[in-house]
């Protein structure tokens, strides 16, 4: 049911873990299924220099977490904010229809982490 890319990111997720002295942290729960994702950011000069995630959720949740971290790394915050659920799903060669909501989790967690960083900057 999942694409090969999804299975690859599920099996070998990139950027799993925590960042002890993170500049921004986002924690979101998926309202539809109850899954949870946490994203940690290191930010230097508005650029994401390091990113890690922890996820409690389905295969798609783990794979989209992994993919979103890969996509966000090296991007400016504004660029990262433009990463949508759709673009994450596409980068994984698509998700099954009933699993599209899982990609929300990843994009939302990233955005939450950026928001958290900006809040702290204020």
């Amino acid at each position: 049911m999942y694409s090969e890319k999804v299975m690859d990111h599920f099996e070998n997720p990139r950027n799993v873990g925590e960042i002890a002295d993170a500049d921004g942290v986002g924690l979101v729960g998926n309202p539809t299924c109850g899954d949870i994702m946490k994203i940690y950011l290191k930010i230097d000069n508005d650029v994401i220099t390091d990113i890690k995630f922890k996820t409690f959720g389905c295969g798609a949740a783990i794979a989209t977490s992994s993919m979103v971290t890969e996509m966000a790394k090296g991007k400016t915050l504004d660029e990262a904010l433009r990463l949508s659920n759709q673009s994450v799903a596409e980068a994984l060669d698509g998700l099954p229809p009933q699993k599209m909501h899982c990609s929300n989790l990843a994009a939302d967690a990233l955005h939450a982490a950026i928001d958290n960083y900006r809040e702290k900057q204020k």
Partner: protein, 387 residues
């Protein structure tokens, strides 16, 4: 890759003896049982023999068996048919919170059509209380439908006591025996039930065939299908002779081998449960510790989610299932686990391992060997893990 199938509650392969009789009815004995001629008579005879086999397997009379397209149809047929014929006597139906959707959704649909529905709660083991049932019966109650054994957690309900209660109050009793059939004794008189559902594909028979037992004299009528006069007007449509013959054979074999197989599977299951509890931390057995199906082990693993466990197991060739929201079409975690008071997050981490004819003690070793690192890996990824 080594493949270990531990999902026999989902479905089973059709065993060779069953394939053989089925094959025979696809090609040689292909006649329509309603036809007068030679081919029709062969089909009719095959049908009659299968009906006898199914009846024998559950202690019923052949004329009390109606063949259906599966467990789902039989459940619908039982409940709807009793409700339709007994509307004038009362409009109250009792069921339990842990029923299969074929029962639960049918009862709920009747609830929208003027029937009053009581859904009995269960305890933390998934067990319905006989006392609760006694208190729920009113003089409007026409039907009680409570499953024999639960598909998700394996808990076996006290059907005998509940059916006796129903009988004393003049209420009809239906039980869904789809999961218990072939695993523990299923006898309609010993259970004392009026209607009972079985399904082929859970007992090494084919998918798409099942049977409903209707005790002689039960106030029930066909209310789902209209059409030909098959099954003595109780189920229209050309009989699925190959499937029915296969169901007959599967029932026969299931009963013959029940005692021996139950002992063997209990041994494997107990080792499985013991090893999981020993080798993996923060795991909880779901369902009743002893009053459970001999082939059934089910757990909730803390901090991790079912689908990701299933996918990881599948990569190692292990086939199992989960009541996790992420594996269900509806994105709701299992109604069974929630009814047992298991919190959403924990229900999310459920795994069901259901053993069958091909499983061995070595399969348990293989499972444990692979499951320990899977759980470790996923927990390392989990934001919920306290370590």
């Amino acid at each position: 890759m080594r493949r270990v199938y531990m999902d026999h509650s989902a479905t089973t392969p059709v065993r060779p003896e069953v394939v053989e009789v089925m094959l025979n009815c696809l090609t040689e004995k292909f006649g329509n049982p309603s036809s007068l001629h030679y081919f029709g008579r062969l089909g009719r005879r095959a049908l009659d023999e299968a009906r006898e086999k199914v009846a024998n397997a559950i202690g019923a009379k052949p004329e009390e068996i109606v063949f259906t397209s599966g467990g789902t149809e039989a459940d619908n047929m039982a409940i709807h048919g009793v409700a339709m014929l007994n509307q004038n006597r009362g409009n109250h139906i009792i069921t339990s919170a842990v029923e299969h959707h074929a029962v639960l959704n049918t009862v709920k649909a009747l609830g929208k059509q003027g029937f009053t529905v009581t859904i009995l709660p269960v305890d933390k083991y998934g067990m319905v209380s006989v006392e609760d049932l006694a208190n729920a019966i009113t003089d409007k109650t026409i039907l009680i439908t409570i499953m024999h054994a639960n598909n998700e957690v394996g808990t076996v309900q006290p059907i005998k006591e509940m059916a006796a209660l129903a009988k004393a109050k003049g209420v009809l009793f239906h039980t869904d025996a789809v999961q218990s059939m072939g695993k523990i004794p299923v006898n309609v008189d010993e259970l004392g039930v009026d209607l009972l559902t079985i399904s082929g594909h859970k007992i090494y028979g084919p998918k798409g065939v099942g049977a409903l037992y209707i005790r002689k004299g039960t106030r029930w009528r066909q209310s789902l299908f209209h059409g030909g006069a098959q099954e003595r007007l109780r189920r229209a449509g050309t009989e699925n002779v190959p499937g029915i013959v296969a169901l007959g054979k599967a029932c026969e074999l299931a009963v013959q081998e029940l005692d021996k197989e139950a002992v063997r599977l209990t041994g494997i299951r107990d080792k499985l449960i013991q090893e999981v509890m020993e080798k993996i931390a923060d795991v909880r057995l779901t369902g009743h510790p002893t009053k459970r199906l001999p082939n059934h082990a089910s757990f909730c693993f803390e901090f991790i989610e079912g689908e990701s466990m299933l996918l990881s197991m599948d990569m190692k060739g292990i086939a199992a299932s989960s009541g996790s929201a992420c594996t269900s079409g509806s994105l709701e975690p299992s109604h069974v686990l929630l009814a047992m008071g298991i919190p959403h997050e924990l229900a999310h981490g459920s795994i069901r391992l259901t053993l069958g004819r091909d499983n061995t003690m070595e399969d348990v070793d293989y499972f444990i060997e692979n499951m320990v690192p899977i759980v470790e890996r996923l927990r390392a990824m989990s934001p919920l893990n306290p370590d």
